[in-house]
């Protein structure tokens, strides 16, 4: 079975503008991963084709790209998830600077993640044993802790597209992870960071992040919990 990938390419050393190149590839069946097809294009047709990947099963978060206009992981998207009768359009994640081909500069994304103090702060001396936490309280964190920092959510958000300073769903999700951890003492500092027009309030519940998240995290729900917390703190 032949499928066509229409891949956006851009080499900063040669090109002034990104352009599209079509690769006609051989797919075994409709269960083939888009990542396998990208590999085929690179290894058999054009070695200059450049993209990130590592674990190849949706755990490491390296290969977030835009497939037919929608952010997904190349390794978790199979041919049957898209219309492969027509050329499949492959582009880098939107709204981040393009380094080369499908690779974007994620340093801004990481800075936003670091801005919410993504680590447990507990000012009391650690006990000899674990800090106790009920399983219900622990499980409240699990959905947010699934995040693999692939960037699909933040770069799918229209608020991010128009405001590069918007901290974005991924960082807000991380803020939730610690604000609602019963062992944490720094919720207030984190809430200060996100209680700004460029923080949680820039979220307009569009749900693009939820649609994009490859780990099926309902990010908007988590942000809504943060907003409620912010509002309660204010009142």
């Amino acid at each position: 079975m032949k499928v066509t990938l229409r891949i956006q390419k851009y080499n900063p050393e040669k090109d002034s503008e990104p352009y599209y190149q079509e690769f006609v590839l051989e797919a075994g069946d409709e269960k083939e991963r888009i990542l396998d097809l990208l590999h085929q294009a690179k290894w058999k047709h054009d070695g200059t084709l450049t993209f990130r990947r590592s674990c190849a099963h949706g755990v490491c978060g390296s290969d977030g790209i835009r497939i037919n206009g929608r952010n997904r992981l190349a390794c978790s998207t199979l041919l049957r998830d898209v219309n492969y009768k027509k050329p499949i359009v492959i582009e880098p994640l939107p709204s981040l600077p393009i380094v080369k081909d499908l690779i974007v500069d994620m340093s801004d994304f990481y800075k936003k993640y670091e801005a919410v103090k993504p680590y447990l702060v507990n000012n009391s001396p650690p006990p000899e044993h674990e800090r106790l936490q009920s399983n219900e309280d622990a499980e409240k964190l699990f959905e947010s802790a699934k995040c693999i920092l692939c960037g699909c959510c933040t770069t799918s958000c229209p608020s991010s597209w128009s405001d590069e300073n918007y901290i974005g769903p991924a960082a807000l999700l991380k803020a939730y992870r610690f604000v609602f951890d019963t062992r944490d003492d720094a919720a207030d500092e984190r809430l200060d960071v996100i209680d700004t027009p460029d923080g949680a309030w820039r979220c307009h519940t569009i749900f693009n992040c939820v649609e994009a998240c490859p780990k099926e995290i309902n990010i908007t729900w988590h942000i809504s919990q943060l907003k409620k917390q912010l509002a309660q703190r204010e009142m």
């Binding site: 080499n11 050393e13 040669k14 075994g28 069946d29 409709e30 269960k31 991963r33 590999h39 690179k42 290894w43 054009d46 070695g47 200059t48 450049t50 993209f51 990947r53 590592s54 674990c55 190849a56 099963h57 755990v59 490491c60 978060g61 390296s62 978790s76 199979l78 049957r80 380094v99 080369k100 690779i103 670091e114 103090k117 993504p118 680590y119 447990l120 702060v121 507990n122 650690p126 000899e128 044993h129 674990e130 800090r131 106790l132 936490q133 009920s134 399983n135 309280d137 622990a138 499980e139 699990f142 802790a145 699934k146 693999i148 920092l149 992870r177 610690f178 951890d181 062992r183 944490d184």
Partner: protein
Amino acid sequence: MITHQYDVLIVGAGGAGLRAALEIPEGFSCAVLSKVFPTRSHTGAAQGGIGAALGNEEEDSWEWHMFDTVKGSDYLGDQEAIEIMTKDASRAIIELEHMGMPFSRTPEGKIAQRRFGGHTRPEDPADPDSKHIAVKRSCYSADRTGHVMLHTLYENCIKQKVHFFSEFYVTELIMSGNACAGIVAMDIATSEVHVFHAKAVMLATGGYGRVFRITSNAHAGTGDGFSLVYNSGLPLQDMEFVQFHPTGLWKLGILISEAARGEGGILLNNKGERFMERYAPTVKDLAPRDMVSRAIITEIREGRGFKGSDGTYYVHLDVSHLSKEVINDKLPEITGFARTYLGVEPTKEPIPIQPTAHYAMGGIPTTPNAEVTKDKKNTKVPGLYAAGEAACVSVHGANRLGTNSLLDLIVFGRRGGKAIAEFIKEADFAPLPADAAERTLSRIDKIMNSKGTEKVGALRTELQDKMMDKVGVFRNENDLKEMTSEIKSLYERYQNVAIDDKGKIFNTDLIEAIELGSLLDTAEPIIYGALVRQESRGAHSREDFPNRDDKNWLKHTLVFKKDGTPKIDYKPVSITRFQPKERKY
């Protein structure tokens, strides 16, 4: 070329590297290099849990944990190191919890634990000959334990303001006399070569799964650390011990945890027979990983496998008879993989699986303080450390128990970090050779300007196919001898490799070409180790020597590269508490 100077350099930002970085005290400079962004490291793929005799759910003791680990290692693990690890396990887990790791909890709010393959306790602790039964020892966080552990460690590194060089690819160790003086690395984003001058270097570069065609490991798992050491004339230990996990998704190798069988899943051949009944009549599908892998390959070889669309074979893992609740609540991630990648609905149909290269028991020989050693007398290499899957302490011996890999990372990562912290207080920078980056520069130059005819992808596939077929679950002298000449010819052809991308920006074509060199450097000691070891022990199974031979082979193998050819030496096993016995489950 840019030169940096750091007191400590850690190569690799997975569990071991990050844990070590947290031990470097303030006032000393420390940098962590990684060829991927830290949270992309393969530690994040671990599912099951971390073993520790916390005793939160039922009575347990570190000695029982130690016994299980020794037995699991088929008595090849160094008992001194295993004792250190199992004794330190509880403290290490508590520490992770204090760092913020979100564990699943017991009703009392303690860290929850569950059963896992090979972890047992005596039914009657008073009776030394008591039967051993499964114990709840694996501390977990749903089925994403490795993921949350990796993130917790990275988060703590941010808190401590650890300096990272992300997407830097290490090409060489700089040796100055006997000591390590730093490393040479390439900034992937620009192809610029950087020299890092350091008092201490830790290699925490992970495994080499990508030497094999079917692997659960990431594409990044190309054995770079092994290659660095091997090319510096230092030995690699026990490389023949490669753990093949029995249940990888067919073709893709993605791991289906043994929890699937733990919950009642069974293995079936093309006749619909539950074939494990023949290989392990008592424990059946829950036999140890090495045994089940061998059984699957035997079934396929004898014509009882299923032939896939691409001509390769598999058997079935059937969980469809289990209740929907068990499948969806206890095996969500696993069944999700089957749905996503093979389009198989596990509640209705069996999952095609095959053994998948999973874990490197062998690696860079180290002391229990992660100090790299270079011979049978454990002579240390000043300034060089290794931890994690890249290292061979050796706590896993010939076969690793589930949940012990994550434990290995945090225990020996921390010990290595502490040893480095001590070392750098006294030590000085070893002099940096003037031509430190020469070899790397000329190597890059050669690949970039090569007009050769060999393609990286094709050569790599050939290596992976041959390793899978001839150095896989079963080995024999003929195949291995053939492989020694194969690897020679692959090395020669590698000299003739050319790439398409001649640019400097993010040249992954170049990176893959260098990685292919690492794969070859890793494959060679695996082949030679497997060839010399004339016995079957743990994961190493010789058809021509089907039994374990403690008289001749209760020893570690060391493979060195000398004048371009591999040389073998041996090292004794540390046996302190448990004398070798037959390994029966």
